[in-house]
């Protein structure tokens, strides 16, 4: 192998290594890209993580949309968790409140977090919450139970094809994670 080839090899290897390192970074860049993409398209049914202001809206009395409530627990969460009703019929534009009930079943204090999800995902941007226990972590004393209201409105701009919206909450026991983060 002569010097010329060695020179060419060195240059090529440097470039290829740069591509490999770049692609490692690209894997990480996919994380914010995914979040932004989901935010725009509503792909993963995530709802806003902060409360919206309650503004008066035009109520569409002629239209009814069914809103269903699903509650579930991540397997590690020792809690009881349910909604006071499984479904309700709502008029777009009108504000409704529905109560959720959660209880810590352990003898120790617990910090838990509820993660919301909307199905179908694309309806998420038309579903607004002005009050929700999911905006913050919830702390429970031993065996404490709470009744937590969720206040929401369905945007009248919701496309006609959506007749039913399902709002699902999963409670995660975050006691350990929060303790670690506070250290």
């Amino acid at each position: 192998m002569n010097d010329d080839t060695k020179q060419k090899n060195r240059k090529l290897v440097r470039n290829l290594v740069l591509i490999a390192v770049g692609m490692f970074g690209f894997g990480y860049v996919l994380v914010p890209i995914y979040d932004v993409f989901c935010d725009i398209t509503g792909l993963n049914g995530k709802t806003a993580s902060v409360a919206a202001a309650e503004t008066a809206r035009e109520v569409d009395e002629s239209r009814e949309v069914t809103v269903e409530f699903v509650t579930s627990l991540n397997q590690a969460a020792p809690m009881a968790f349910r909604a006071e009703t499984y479904k309700m019929k709502v008029h777009p534009g009108q504000y409704y409140t529905v109560n959720f009930y959660a209880e810590n079943l352990t003898d120790k204090p617990m910090i838990a977090r509820a993660i919301p999800s909307i199905t179908p995902g694309q309806a998420a941007e038309f579903f607004t919450k002005t009050q929700c226990f999911c905006f913050d972590e919830q702390s429970f004393e031993a065996h404490e139970s709470k009744t937590m209201p969720v206040r929401f409105v369905v945007d009248p701009k919701l496309p006609e094809k959506y007749k039913t919206i399902t709002l699902a909450y999963t409670f995660f026991d975050n006691t350990e994670l929060t303790a670690k983060k506070q250290k």
């Binding site: 010329d4 993963n44 995902g121």
Partner: protein
Amino acid sequence: MSAVVAEHDDHHDHHDHGPEKGLLRWIITTNHKDIGTLYLVFALAMFFLGGAMALVIRAELFEPGLQFVEPQFFNSMTTMHALIMVFGAVMPAFVGLANWMIPLMIGAPDMALPRMNNMSFWLLVAGALLLASTLFMEGGAPASGWTLYPPLVLQTGAALPFAIFSVHLLGISSIMGAINIIATIFNMRAPGMTLMKMPLFVWTWLITAFLLIAIMPVFAGAVTMLLTDRFFDTSFFDAAGGGDPVLYQHIFWFFGHPEVYVMILPTFGVASTIIPVFARKPLFGYSSMVYATASIAFLSFIVWAHHMFTVGMPVAGELYFMYATMLIAIPTGVKVFNWTATMWKGSMTFETPMLFSIAFVVLFTMGGFTGLMMSVAPSDFQYHDTYFIVAHFHYTLVPASIFILMAAAYFWLPKWTGNMYDEKLGQLHFWLSAISVNVLFFPQHFLGLAGMPRRIPDYAVQFADWNMVSSIGAFVFGFSQLLFLYIVIKTIRGGTGEEVTSEVWEDASKHSLEWTLPSPLPYHTFTTPPKEIPTEHF
């Protein structure tokens, strides 16, 4: 130092020594033929290890009910079988062939970066041993399936960080191998060997190497996120902390779909090398083969979510990924028709390498068609995670990649060793494999369509008959491969005693450069570049 002196030095270097004596030769070697052999031997060993795991799975599924292993161990077997076959057997086997054949086919004296070549092999061994060692750890080997989906994979016991580091090592090894291959192909070609005169095996490997450099770091990133999620309180994939487990699936399949083409593109290359020799015709449509390979590689990056149709996606997304996936059938079809056209009106003979290659064309096409069935998003809801998908990808890997690796071994062993393999035993090996592989995998289509889920150690009794047939096929196929081991060892030790010409196969030297060299190949070849480039493959 002037270039002339440097050249002289090098020349001197290459002629002065043969292989080192003793075992140390294999540890410190930088010779592309030695490293190629190491890769191939290692891949064969891993093939038997991964195969043994497959037989554990098929033994457990021979009858309904739990017979031999715990469900957790069963899941470890499906996971480890896949990881070992993909990263330990098929990929290293093709890297081994690349090491052996690419310098010979392009008229280069060795790989461009011989020392890195040695390092990438030994990193592979380290990575594979680390992976295999997880079998003996507390909590068992990873049991989440080879896709390592969170949150399930995060429940792995002590093995998780070891499995993740082994993926890192295997990834670094593949990237180094890929860089070496690209550097060799770009900078080491003999004068006159233009890109469009390269044998197709070289072309397919060039494209595969670029795929590897693009995807292995992404996979390394994904498993690193798993690692930090588990041990350093990040929440990439943890919904409780604001992450999303579905994100992992997107990142994984961004790697995973091109990854399956990493295993099939070099397969296409070897098939395109062998078929023309035994059809005694030039390869039909050389340039269309090159462009088809490049198109498949490009398409592999934009279809990943077809693995996730049932995860939940807007209709527009399902439609896009469905049509994009169907597009892949076009360049793949071009290839299948080109192989068929190459054989058309050829003066064909049916030695063992050709038999395996023809079986590849037929059976790979079947695997491709079932893939097309699953690309249809609405139908995929029925096939998803059933034995139908298991049948599909095993048809594209076992009677395709594995058969072509067998064909390559029979094709080039006489060249490498200077000894002829036993043709009768070779054909026996072929027929045993070709029949048993279909007994093994064809019934899995029926099981999948009837709704039998994959990765579960037990099943409903209505699936009993075809599972039994499939398991019988598995054991016949598995033990037939011991015959292959015997044939290879026998060939290395002298074979049939027949004299092997430099061409080995009739007129092979018209197709590719390696057949212009003596058999067995001397330790150093093409220290001076070849004068003429064969042009028959146009």
